[in-house]
Symmetry: C2
Subunit: 441 residues, 2 copies
């Protein structure tokens, strides 16, 4: 009757090493956000379906997992609940629900799963963790800067060393279109083309822009200016329009307020475009050596909370692409957790259980042989499979003399110690080995 | 357009203090289980609907949240996925999926939400955390004893001091029915009545038994014997049948293997009955002073994994009722986390952001004023709302002399320190206060 079913398409089972590795990453980032005064928030896995109604675009709405009504209503085939698609719609709902009971501004982070019925593919999942932090209720440029700092520290805490914040502003993009005399109706498409400059050649983008109706001199000038190693010429252009000046001021303020980060970490990147109907002010994206695409992003979205059904408040936030980072980083040996101590069982079970209890109170990870073999060799094999560092043998011989044999599984060395001293002996043995094997962090 | 929607019926939003408190409890229990060599497991929030088919009783099946098919199949009104109802069905599926790739025996714990479309009521939720540990693939009595030890240490780690394991065995219950000459067809009902002895009077149970068809002398003898302060008479009765003897042997073996726990923690309780079609051997329940009902339970269920679609392997496990415990324990002050340091903003924003960064690298939880007021009084009010311990003022005065004012929010004391020394000064201030306020654990 055994079945060998995989988990549902697009989902994963996380066995021991995976759970430990993911938890370590989530806890590390959470601790960084806590240092910035962000508060954790956990909302239910599902929301009422009407909370999503009209809040997400058509494309996103099609990806929502809907939950069937229950009981006598099940037969209607209708849904009344939906698994959360992101952490932003629930945040807007929470801001609406609790209002002034929340701190002001409300700075919160959420690290947890969301569900999207996307076509499952390599590296794309239907259940995956998102890691968001947001400040709702502050229009201060310091709030934007704080998000950048916190994301910076989060990324750095994951051991990523070479990375850069590409920064731009929705206002600057608006000014850019004006300064280069691009018709309003072409605006979004032009920006869409510019957004490809991180993946494709300038020539290809120029060709696409011309194709979209831009005069070739405009297309060439625009692409040359936004990709120039220094932004002097572009800044002069932006300075000719009101939107451009405001955008530049936003960017320069951010650069000033993040001057305490390592040199070159935050860079004005005029070609960078993000979610056009989402962000209203500063936008950023984090590029890291060895990681394709961006590993974090964010910006200011002053009208979004209201659009999602919450009150009309300014807000900004960021998101770290933890699934992407986890997929690329190689697991550490530290994620594998063997037993510190394995106890064989050759009679005297009650004594062994008592001894195991004593060893555990010292904080050592301790396993007792639970199989059916009475043979030491087989039990040592089990201890080896468990990556045990020490094995404890309390066989008929040892029981006679009131001693215990402690076997170091690395060296094969065996020591006899009196039973009452076994626990403390093990602790010092495991400690000295830990010190030898891994230098303190 | 603001809406003030509550989360869906039977679910909860966990704001900062709740998340911290729950995480502390989950992490504490997880650390205990790790010491016992149990491995964490996380399965997807939903399983294929057919994984549940015929696995749960009719009552439980009605409580499953089913997920509607997507895309063009949505209109059929059919479901193909279901939110997990417990952690046991997914465990059986995982044992089937990974088989020999798992350690043997497979000792795993899972602490996380399950979903049941139960009628929402006070203290009963539709999304709630279950905390399970199970050993799959061992028939050894040491495996049962280990579950009891681990649950014991988990409960103790939550600060619960007065509690007791009530222990019985399915075999002993079987033997009990035989020894008292109770017809097989009455068996389950008689046990159901005995199970009420922790909530109702012996007289009421005797009456119910008679009502169910038992001769009154049998009913009285049975109730008297199973509730007697000592179990001598009952043991003699059990000793007259094969099932009874096997049950007694199971219980006595467990008592022997848990003799290392504090005296009186594990008690043979012949009247204790649990999930009749679930458990096959030892059963236990944990009663704690101040907690109505049981706060943990478990036992051996050798045929369950196969019944749930996994391979036919022996297994035993336990579960700690963490939601019940969380509901009764009063929140600690430690769950409330204010700011260690609040920085006011009166110009010199870039310096303040840099200083905040410096303070954070010392591990202090540090917030910067993100509001729009330029008034110190208003900013101090904000710092107070954030439960800040220290406030840092770097106003025009201080900027001139290159100093910073540090205000202790408890004493109201203010100290001027040179800007470059501000971070280290704060660290020692917060440290000495922490030492004063809470003794080390």
């Amino acid at each position: 009757m055994a079945q060998a079913a995989e988990p549902p398409s697009g989902t994963r089972d996380f066995l021991a090493d995976d759970v430990r590795r993911r938890k370590a990453v989530f806890d590390t980032i959470g601790a960084v956000f806590e240092r910035y005064g962000f508060d954790p928030l956990e909302t239910p896995a599902f929301e009422r379906l009407d909370v999503f109604a009209g809040k997400l675009g058509e494309e996103a709405s099609a990806l929502i997992f809907k939950i069937l009504k229950r009981g006598i209503h099940e037969a209607t085939g209708e849904a009344d609940l939906a698994l959360r698609y992101d952490h932003t719609v629930p945040l807007a709902r929470v801001v609406g629900t609790y209002g002034s009971k929340l701190p002001s501004p409300y700075k919160r982070y959420t690290i947890g799963p969301v569900w999207r019925a996307d076509r499952a593919a390599k590296g794309r999942f239907r259940e995956f963790a998102q890691c968001d932090l947001d400040t709702v209720g502050s229009a201060s440029p310091l709030a934007d800067a704080e998000i950048v700092w916190a994301v910076h520290d989060g990324v750095a805490a994951l051991g990523i060393e070479e990375f850069q914040f590409l920064v731009n502003s929705r206002q600057a993009l608006h000014g850019l279109l004006e300064a280069y005399g691009i018709a309003a109706k072409l605006g979004d498409k032009v920006l869409g083309s510019l957004d490809k400059l991180d993946k494709t050649t300038p020539e290809a983008v120029v060709a696409e822009l011309v194709n979209r109706g831009l005069p070739s001199t405009t297309a060439e000038g625009l692409v040359t200016d936004v990709t120039a190693p220094d932004t002097d010429r572009l800044r002069k252009q932006l300075d000719t329009t009101e939107h451009g000046r405001r955008g530049l001021a936003d960017v320069d303020r951010l650069l000033e307020l993040t001057a305490g980060l390592p040199v070159g970490r935050v860079v004005f990147t005029p070609r960078m475009v993000r979610g056009l109907d989402y962000y209203t002010g500063l936008i950023f994206e984090v590029a890291a050596t060895g990681y394709p695409g961006s590993i974090a992003s964010g910006g200011r979205y002053d009208s979004l909370v209201a659009k999602l059904g919450g009150p009309d408040v300014p807000a900004c936030g960021g998101s770290i692409g933890i699934e992407r980072i986890l997929a690329i980083q190689t697991p550490h040996a530290a994620d594998q957790r063997g037993l510190d101590v394995a106890l064989t069982v050759l009679g005297a079970e009650a004594d062994i259980m008592r001894l195991a209890g004593e060893i555990r109170t010292l904080g050592l990870r301790t396993g007792v042989y639970l199989g059916s073999s009475g043979k030491l060799a087989k039990q040592l094999q089990w201890a080896n499979d468990q990556h045990a560092r020490s094995v404890l043998i309390y066989g008929p011989e040892e029981q006679k003399t009131g001693e215990v044999t402690v076997r170091d599984m690395e060296s094969g060395e065996q020591t006899r110690v009196p039973l009452p001293e076994a626990a403390t002996h093990l602790r010092s043995a495991v400690r000295s080995r830990t010190n030898r094997m891994s230098p303190p962090v």
